[in-house]
Each structure stands twice: as structure tokens, then as C-alpha cells.
């Protein structure tokens, strides 16, 4: 095994993106890894965690001032806020605080990887130009993803480091307590439906059932992120990163139902945030009945995000061919991805 010569600082290490990135970096052999999050975490081989409040400039400086050996920052932190405008200030401040603190001490800093998403293209606003390309014009602000990229673009000239911006679709993988975890939404919704003797109904908007969309497997995303951060040709560029296939819920939903051994019934629009709000006692009973890990209901709930994804009654996809042209060749079949993630949830005793 080669000697670690690169040091990754993974910012947002407990999210679905950060966790999978840590795991991937740990398998590569030539990385030492520091994870940042509010919660912190248990150290493991080549990984140590630091609990820090990134919104607090002083806390950042104090906790990060010994990280002189960091070579790569992987920024995947996110602060939720009720409105698009309110997202800007905290999310820009967190990035600024980390970059300023690390730049001041880490003189070997080579790269800053910024995690974005299709919000750059206005995917969250309504129908937008698809397939979206990295060269498409920005939408009307506010858009914190763009502000973050502009911050890096303006700061980079004359520096030792370069940046890359990674734009995944909905990221699917293992994580707990994550506000944007679609696989968990589906798995828990399906388990609860089954427990109540109900068929599996698509709960989204009627028009969302037959539109095109795509997913990004968290493992594929981790590989792409490290690839872009270490490939010279990718310096100072943005890349859409997706599984490489497209699907419609109308096709996927029956396959998901088959996995959970459920009947499919026609779609029935309902707000998951509303109808799942009172299911905590049921979930607690299911934990006891099936011997599941005692995860609190809130840690397996991202209902607001589920409602958001299932509301897309327009094609929601980006052109992933730029990364492929630049040499990233991973493809994941989305149907297999869902089935692997649900099996993983089962192995971890998160769902029955």
C-alpha cells in the first residue's frame, strides 16, 4: 500500500455525500482524512473527526488552525433554511469560514471541491431547460450554489489551489438524520405502507409519475468527486455527475414495490410531511416487532424532501456527458442502485 501523501478535509462529514466520500477516500490508500461536522464522529482507520460550528468564524479558526497538512478540501456541508433567499448567508459564510481558516495554515493546499446540485439550473423552480449543461446560463438569484462558486472563482487567481464544482442529481446512499435522503423516504414509506396493509402508492403529483428524472449514487458521486479533484484537466470547472441513465417513476415504482413485496396501486397525491407526521408510535412499535436498530423516527424522516422530489412534474435531468468526455467512466444502473441501498438498510437493521 502506498504511503498517504494527500490529506482530505471533508466538510459535512455526516451527510449522505460526506459519509460516502469518507468511506471512498479511506479505501484509496494514499489519503489521510479529516471529517468536519457539528456532531463529530468516531475515529477510524485514517479518519478522524472534528466537531465544529462552521457558522462561527472563531470556532472555525480555533478548531482548524492545526490542519496545516490539508491538501484537498471537499466541501459538502449544507445549512437548511425555510426560503431560498435565507439559504444564501449561512451557506456562503460556512464556505468562507472554512476556506479562510485552512488557507491561513495549509500551505500545501491544492484543491477545493465544491458540492452543488441541479439547483444551479433552477431545477427547484419549475420546468427548466433539459438536458441541463454546465454552460447553461444561471437563473435569477438568489442561489447560494452560484454564490459559493463565484466566491471560489474570485478567490482562486494567484493561489496554489484550483477548484472544481460537482453537480449531482438527487444523491442516494446510506446516512441517518439527513434532511435530503430519498432512498430512506421510500424505504420507510414502503415499510409503513406494508405494516398498515396498504398497497404502495406513488404519493407525488400526478404529472410527476411519467416524467424523466435521474439519480446520483453516493458511491459513484464519491468516485467522481475525488476524480475531479485530482485530475489536472478538471481544474476550475464544473461537472454534472449522475448515474448515466434516466427513468420515470411509472417504471421504477412497480420495481420498488416488488422489492418490498407490495402491491402497486395507482398514484394518490398526498403530502408525506402531513400524512407521515403521526407515524412515530407506529415506527417505534415496528422497531420492537422486527428487532430494528432503535433509530429515532426523526432520523429516518426526510418527508419534506420526499414531497419536493415527488412534485417534479417536469423532466428533471442534466447532460452528464462532459464528465464522461473528460474521462470519468463510471455508470450505475438506477434500478440496481435502489435495490442495493434498500438491501443495505435491511442489513443494517434500519428497516424490516
Amino acid at each position: 500500500m502506498s504511503t498517504p501523501n494527500k490529506v482530505a478535509l471533508v466538510v459535512g462529514a455526516q451527510g449522505v455525500i460526506g459519509r460516502n466520500l469518507l468511506d471512498h477516500l479511506a479505501t484509496l490508500g494514499d489519503w489521510n482524512i479529516v471529517g468536519l461536522s457539528r456532531r463529530g464522529g468516531k475515529p477510524a482507520n485514517r479518519i478522524r473527526h472534528i466537531a465544529v460550528d462552521l457558522l462561527d468564524q472563531d470556532d472555525c479558526r480555533e478548531k482548524l488552525n492545526h490542519l496545516a497538512d490539508v491538501t484537498h478540501i471537499f466541501y459538502a456541508a449544507y445549512q437548511d433554511r425555510p426560503t431560498w433567499a435565507e439559504l444564501v448567508a449561512p451557506n456562503l459564510a460556512m464556505l468562507t469560514n472554512v476556506v479562510e481558516a485552512i488557507e491561513a495554515v495549509a500551505h500545501r493546499l491544492q484543491h477545493i471541491s465544491l458540492m452543488q446540485g441541479y439547483k444551479v439550473y433552477g431545477a427547484h423552480l419549475g420546468p427548466f431547460k433539459t438536458p441541463a449543461r454546465e454552460t447553461d446560463a444561471y437563473h435569477m438569484p438568489p442561489e447560494f450554489n452560484v454564490d459559493q462558486q463565484v466566491f471560489l472563482e474570485c478567490r482562486q487567481p494567484g493561489k496554489t489551489w484550483t477548484w472544481s464544482a460537482i453537480r449531482p442529481s438527487v444523491v442516494c446512499g446510506f446516512a441517518l438524520g439527513n434532511p435530503m435522503n430519498l432512498a430512506m423516504v421510500i424505504a420507510v414509506y414502503a415499510a409503513v405502507s406494508k405494516q398498515l396493509g396498504l398497497p404502495l402508492r406513488f404519493p407525488g403529483k400526478p404529472g410527476a409519475y411519467d416524467k424523466l428524472l435521474e439519480m446520483t449514487d453516493a458511491g459513484l458521486l464519491a468516485r467522481a468527486t475525488v476524480w475531479a479533484a485530482t485530475e489536472q484537466r478538471c481544474a476550475n470547472q464544473a461537472f454534472n455527475i449522475n448515474n448515466g441513465d434516466l427513468f420515470r417513476w411509472s417504471e421504477m415504482w412497480p420495481k420498488i414495490a416488488r422489492f418490498f413485496e407490495l402491491e402497486v396501486a395507482p398514484p394518490l397525491p398526498m403530502s408525506l410531511a402531513a400524512v407521515m407526521a403521526d407515524k412515530e408510535p407506529l415506527w417505534t412499535a415496528m422497531i420492537a416487532k422486527y428487532g430494528l436498530e432503535p433509530n429515532p423516527y426523526r432520523d429516518v424522516s426526510s418527508w419534506r424532501f420526499g414531497d419536493f422530489v415527488f412534485s417534479w412534474d417536469y423532466d428533471m435531468f442534466a447532460d452528464g456527458s462532459k464528465a464522461r468526455r473528460f474521462g470519468f467512466h463510471d455508470h450505475v444502473e438506477t434500478e440496481a442502485m435502489f435495490s442495493n441501498i434498500f438491501s443495505d438498510f435491511r442489513r443494517r437493521r434500519i428497516i424490516p
Binding site: 431547460k129 448515466g244 441513465d245 456527458s321 464522461r324 467512466h329 455508470h331
Partner: protein, 351 residues
């Protein structure tokens, strides 16, 4: 033992065939033989076998010349007025070649059969997209099914195997094939400009907005050779496209810009009907711009244009399978289209 492989490119004069012949001619480990009824004019010297595959005695007389063939790339097509009528001649061409070739070519290793998105029913109307190789067939007739079944049946117990490729709208630098979309677009645009009308999308309004895909002919050639030599491609089916999707409304303004033409809203016309009387206009364009003396009907297969521009539903293949098996080349379709149009212009085929 020599690693030399000998390719027989059947349908060598078409857009798929010509680009494959050219690609293989540049590969040192390949010998290439083209096969078609009429030998096309080619830039370089290529060995050619002029055979009418519908004529068994013609095949029998010439099969002896094909004894070294190790790989067959089958890209021949006989059009007929109806889908039912297409089955017999297209099946016969494959059968008439395979039956005598197997004893004549003892080194035969793999047969690459080209199908298309018609395997999924693209020609019938809206179909399940993205289409996967595992999707069930539509109700026959479909000559691909007949060819595929024959190939599978014939392969049992043999030393050779097969790979089936399903490209869609193969676009390449080639003159004289009926199904080459860039030339259909280019001649339509030139005639529109000559007649003083803006560049209008001639297809259905819904087709302007729906998702489309194409396959670059050189990418297809590379994929064909990849399929020929990749062990895991044995007896498998692969979709192969550029790997992106586009909408005509996104590409059309770029085409108008290249031809320096104003653009206008779509106007649905049947190209077959509306271009029928435009031969003299094209001849005048050829004279005016000193183009190569091609007749309009040599350049543009309007029926194919009507089919492509009439698809007012998403046309999409899933290409995950071929990527996961190791074929990685992708092309940006808009850049490909503009590049091909420029190549035709530089070669003085179009103004």
C-alpha cells in the same frame, strides 16, 4: 500465430458501412473487405466484394473470396413499402450470407448484427423510454426480430458467436445513403435559403420539443470493433448512441447560425412531398456554388427525414449496459452535427 483479423463489412456503402470500412482500414491488426451490390466510390483503396445477397447463385459464385473472414459486420438493409414486406428480403440477405460463409470461412469468430431503435417500436409511435435491451418486443412484424432469431438459432453449437448493436440515427460523413440525417438537414436548409425562406423545422410541432438522440458514425465504428473483440460482448445486445439527448429546438438555432439563416417557428410539411419538385433548385445551387455534381435524390432520403422529424415523443435508449461492459466513448450531439455539416461544406457537397 498471427493476430490479424479480417472484417467483412456487409452493407459497406451505407453510412454505417462506409465509416466502419474507413475506420478498419486505419487499424493495423485488421484486414477489411467491403460488401455491397454496387461498389461505392471511396477515397482510398479498399478490397471490395460486389455481391447481391438476395441472389444465392451470386453469393455461391463469390463466397470463395471470403475464406479468411473472421468477423462479419452486418449493416445491410433492403427497404420495402411496408414493415411486413421488409421481413423476407432482409432475413434472406442474412441467411444467404451465413449459410455458405460458415463452411467457407473456418476462422469465423463473431458476427456483429446492426439493428436500431425500431427494435423497440420507435416507428410505431410513443414507446417506453428510455428503452433497455431487456425490454419486451413489440407485436411483429419486425425484420430485426426475424434476423435476430435466425442468428441465435444458427449460432447454437458453433465456434462463432454474435453481438447485436442497436444504434439510432447514425450520422456520418457519407454520400449516397438514404438515411444520413446531416445531409437531409443540409440540403433542406440550402434549398430554403435559395428560395428565400427562413429555416423552419419541418417536422411535427411536438417533435421540436421531444427528446432525441443520434449516433456518430465514427463512434459507432469504434463500438463495432469494440464489440468484435470484447469477450463479455459475446451473444449480448447493446444500445449504442452518443450518450446524450437533445431537443431539436435546442439544435435548430445552431444549424441556422451555421448556414447564416434566419429561423422561424416550425412548419410541419412532408419532406417526401414538398421536396419532390426541388431537384432543379438543387441543380441550380450546385452550379452556383460549384459543388460536387450530386443529384438531390443521391443526398437526401426524405422518407427518413419525415420519420425522424415526425417523432413527437421522446426517443431514448439507455446506454448503461455498453458503458458497464467497457465502451466509454461519448459525443456531444450538437457539436457532432455542426462538425459533420462543416465537413460536407468543406468537401463541396453542400454550400
Amino acid at each position: 500465430m498471427s493476430n490479424k483479423k479480417t472484417a467483412l463489412v456487409v452493407g459497406g456503402a451505407g453510412v454505417i458501412g462506409r465509416n466502419l470500412v474507413n475506420f478498419l482500414a486505419g487499424q493495423p491488426e485488421w484486414e477489411v473487405i467491403g460488401l455491397s451490390r454496387n461498389k461505392p466510390e471511396l477515397g482510398k483503396k479498399v478490397r471490395w466484394s460486389q455481391i447481391d445477397l438476395l441472389d444465392q447463385s451470386d453469393v455461391a459464385a463469390k463466397i470463395g473470396d471470403l475464406s479468411e473472414v473472421s468477423h462479419v459486420f452486418f449493416a445491410a438493409y433492403q427497404p420495402r413499402p411496408t414493415y411486413a414486406e421488409e421481413v423476407k428480403p432482409n432475413l434472406e440477405m442474412l441467411r444467404n450470407l451465413l449459410a455458405p460463409l460458415q463452411p467457407a470461412a473456418p476462422n469465423l469468430k463473431r458476427i456483429i448484427l446492426n439493428e436500431g431503435v425500431k427494435a423497440y417500436g420507435v416507428h410505431l409511435g410513443p414507446f417506453k423510454t428510455p428503452a433497455k435491451e431487456t425490454d419486451p418486443r413489440h407485436l411483429p412484424p419486425n425484420f430485426y426480430y426475424a434476423q435476430e432469431d435466425h442468428l441465435k438459432q444458427e449460432q447454437i453449437g458453433k465456434n462463432w458467436d454474435y453481438t447485436i448493436l442497436r444504434p439510432d440515427v447514425v450520422c456520418g460523413f457519407s454520400v449516397g445513403s438514404a438515411m444520413n440525417l446531416p445531409l437531409i438537414i443540409a440540403t433542406y436548409a440550402a434549398i430554403s435559403r435559395e428560395l428565400g425562406v427562413p429555416l423552419r423545422f419541418p417536422g411535427k410541432v411536438g417533435a421540436y420539443q421531444a427528446l432525441a438522440q443520434v449516433t456518430d458514425a465514427t463512434l459507432h465504428a469504434e463500438a463495432s470493433v469494440w464489440a468484435a473483440v470484447t469477450p463479455s460482448a459475446k451473444n449480448e445486445i447493446f444500445n449504442v448512441t452518443n450518450g446524450d439527448f437533445f431537443r431539436w429546438k435546442q439544435l435548430w438555432p445552431k444549424i441556422a447560425e451555421l448556414f447564416d439563416m434566419p429561423i422561424a417557428e416550425p412548419q410541419t410539411i412532408s419532406l417526401v412531398n414538398w421536396m419532390a419538385d426541388k431537384g432543379p433548385v438543387w441543380d441550380a445551387i450546385v452550379a452556383k456554388h460549384r459543388l460536387q455534381p450530386h443529384k438531390l435524390e443521391q443526398l437526401a432520403g426524405w422518407k427518413f427525414g419525415d420519420l425522424v422529424f415526425g417523432s413527437d415523443y421522446d426517443v431514448m435508449s439507455d446506454t448503461t449496459k455498453i458503458r458497464q461492459h467497457g465502451f466509454h466513448r461519448v459525443e456531444a450531439s450538437d457539436i457532432m452535427m455542426i462538425r459533420l455539416l462543416k465537413e460536407f461544406r468543406e468537401a463541396a457537397v453542400i454550400p
